[in-house]
Amino acid sequence: MSSSIHIPVLRLGRPYESLDQVRFNVDGREIAVSMANSGLIRRDLQQGLARAAESLQAIPCAKLADACEHAAELFLRGNLPWGDGDQLQSPHDYVVALSQLTGLPHALGHQNMGKVHAAMANIRAILAGLTRGMPLELFDRGFIRQDGIDVNFFPQTGSLGVLLPSNSPGVNSLWLPALVMKIPVVLKPGREDPLTPFRIVQAMIAAGFPREAFGFYPAGHDGGDAVLFGTGRAIAFGSDATVRRYSPFRNIQVHGSGRSKVLLGDDHADHWERHLDIIVQSIASNGGRSCINASAVLTPRHRDQLADALARRMAAIVPRPRDDKDALLCGFANPAMAKGIDERIDELLQTPGAEDITARYRQGPRLIDKFGQTFLQPTLISCTDPEHPLANTEFMFPFASILEVPQSRMIDTIGESLVVSAVTADHAWTLDLMASTNIERLNIGPYPTNRVQWEQPHEGNMFEFLYRRRALQGDLAAV
């Protein structure tokens, strides 16, 4: 079998082999990932971030955008360093290894590669969306003249720290714009997916980004703190516990459970059959692993008919081998986690007012071992009460609740929701939805929750998170 691979820590560009390593086995080939201790991270950030920022400052933003577009192709199609050795990783190698480590089937691995590729390839559109159309030279000169007014933005931070999850490689697309905006990134990959950020970093370096601009620190929780507190601005992905832990800190943007939802308006509720596709897609795309997957469906009428039809469709999504091109379900890298989720759902189903509708149609139990992996089969729970413990929760597989709630009460019922797809053409309700404070991303019309429009900000506006406008007046002849 092929020789082993070592994925190093990248100490702001400098590869480092740690004595503390996590080892994975991919088809008989060992992948060892060096783990950074927290003190090492703090020391690097303290000593190296200024140089990292200078390395980006020296390159015109337009050139960085070009490099990002080039990196998109390299990421999607290129052979890139596997680790710190000479071995190269093909896109196929990446997808196979990603599947082994995270349980993501190959088809979804390719799909996520596509997402990352698109985010890189569309970097100009993304930056235009984030800055509302300001030219790239803003990042070179610090100011531009717009509609006769001098507009000055300055970086609020010299670095962006990111605590990445392992559940969905596509999340990596969120930090990419920072580099083109000349802000170095310090990444702490999720334990099961060091591969995606490392491949992206390698693609960006190969495309012309300075290697000093990248910190890549696989680490434990302590290392995560070092990244979050050692960078001027940081993003953390995680559970509700992550949110509780880091939300007191203003420099940290925390993303916990999405609790995204599909709402059917009064005007569309009677035509629910037309929307089955987008609801199933909202729940099950990307294996139901993303925070933008819907975890609840609210309709003012026909709950039982809609639930039954959705359950039939969801139950048809069955476990398949990793390399099956139609595979949509992800195996669990940690089978104990799947077992825990299954037991938790069964326990909460004991509370009156909830029924697992998919149980009527799926083949076998919810928790099932097949094709050498442990799966949780899609699950739809019909709840009679929005306060039921399963009514507004989220699990890392295609799971959703369905509720009957009058349209007038939906906004108050949904709670904090990352994405809401409101299937409606009701003018007044649309205005109410747009005025609501508990929805982060709003789709109006028959669109799935995972819809991406590059011009729109994702999970907050990265530009506004990293840069701040300053009043600028007077004689600017010197600049």
Binding site: L19, D20, N37, G39, R42, R43, R245, F249
Partner: protein
């Protein structure tokens, strides 16, 4: 100063010391009230049945709760009656702490530690700084004695781990960080304004301090550290980067009940994996099977750390520590078993607040 005995000689010395200590602690003329009363109810006579160290297996594992519940006076050996004692505490984040009394044991332990390292490792006559838990801890007096024994004086910056643990338990992570900064501020001030050559601190505080200044440029010559887990990667980082490869480093494993175990000199083949050796025969560390603590683990395998302390001041048989470690064989410096890569017991399966200071 390495032990010159062979392994069989060291074992014989341990057996002889065991007999002497059993005779001391279970004789009415010299023993303490706690153990004498215990012997009356034990149903067997240690004076007759303990003839070597292995016979100590007749004792159950010491329950350190008695150090919380019992009055310290019950542990005063008759031979020490009337002589005021020091009270040292351990634990106590909430509720009553565990207390051990003592007279000269800490001096014996730290003089032996000092002699082991000779005159140059910690420069003789150099001043010390201790940054860490002082308060009611044995360590505070021990470090000052060590400094004095080597001809220097000692400065102190206190850190209260009970408060840090409480802050973290309350979810006050930000306040815990501020408190840590406050401690480091004080330490940095002392180092900048006084001539400090040697330091005792915890690994975490050491790296925090080195984030403020180059310890080499500050004039530090040697650091003695202990208190939390040090993985090989961590040790390498401390040696290569925190101490810049230029400051002597003495990692130790110790606690109030044992004293301190010295780490053997690191060799390239150790790859920064530390091995500690108890101050035998006064204390003995064994690595036992967690499920069958009567059985010692094979060399090279992790097991739970079991401590037996036998000094004239204090007797603790077979106390199961909250740590696990790899059983390592005797070495040139220490002709008895060592404990390697110590970490909290079952740390791979439990969430533990460790390394908070």
């Amino acid at each position: 100063m390495s032990c010159k005995l062979t392994t069989p000689e060291a074992q014989a010395a341990l057996d002889a010391w065991t007999r002497e200590m059993i005779a001391w602690h279970f004789s009415p003329a010299t023993g303490c009230d706690y153990w004498l009363k215990w012997a009356e109810q034990a149903g067997w006579n240690p004076l007759k049945e303990i003839t070597c160290f292995n016979d100590l297996m007749r004792f159950d594992h010491f329950d350190d709760e008695v150090l919380r519940k019992e009055q310290p006076e019950r542990f005063v050996p008759k031979a020490y009656a009337g002589r005021p004692y020091n009270v040292f505490e351990t634990g106590g984040t909430t509720g009553m702490p565990k207390q051990r009394i003592g007279w000269d044991d800490y001096k014996v332990d730290y003089e032996e530690f000092s002699d082991h390292y000779g005159p140059d490792f910690f420069p003789k006559g150099g001043n010390w700084l201790m940054v860490g838990p002082t308060g009611p801890r044995r360590l505070r007096l021990a470090i000052e004695h060590l400094a004095n024994y080597r001809g220097g004086s000692c400065y102190f910056v206190d850190l209260d781990p009970r408060w840090v643990k409480r802050l973290i338990g309350m979810g006050e992570g930000a306040m815990a960080r501020k408190y840590q900064e406050h401690v480091i501020d004080q330490a940095a001030t002392i180092i900048r304004h006084r001539n400090i050559q040697c330091m005792f601190t915890t690994p975490r505080l050491l790296e925090n301090l080195a984030e403020r200044m180059s310890l080499v440029k500050a004039g530090l010559k040697a650091v003695f550290a202990g208190g939390t887990t040090m993985t090989p990667q961590y040790v390498r980082f401390v040696v290569e980067e925190v101490l810049e490869g230029k400051i002597n480093f003495a990692p130790t494993y110790g606690n109030t009940l044992m004293g301190l175990a010295i780490s053997r000199k690191l060799k390239p083949e150790d790859n920064y994996s530390l091995t500690y050796y108890a101050p035998q025969p006064r204390a003995v560390l064994r690595i036992v099977n967690p499920d069958q603590p009567d059985k010692v683990m094979p060399y090279g395998e992790y097991g739970r750390v079991e401590l037996t302390t036998m000094t004239r001041e204090f007797f603790v048989p077979r106390f199961l520590e909250r740590d696990e470690a790899i059983r390592r064989p005797p070495c040139d410096e220490f002709p008895w078993d060592g404990v390697g890569d110590v970490r909290p017991f079952q740390s791979l399966t439990k969430t533990i607040i460790e390394g908070v200071y």
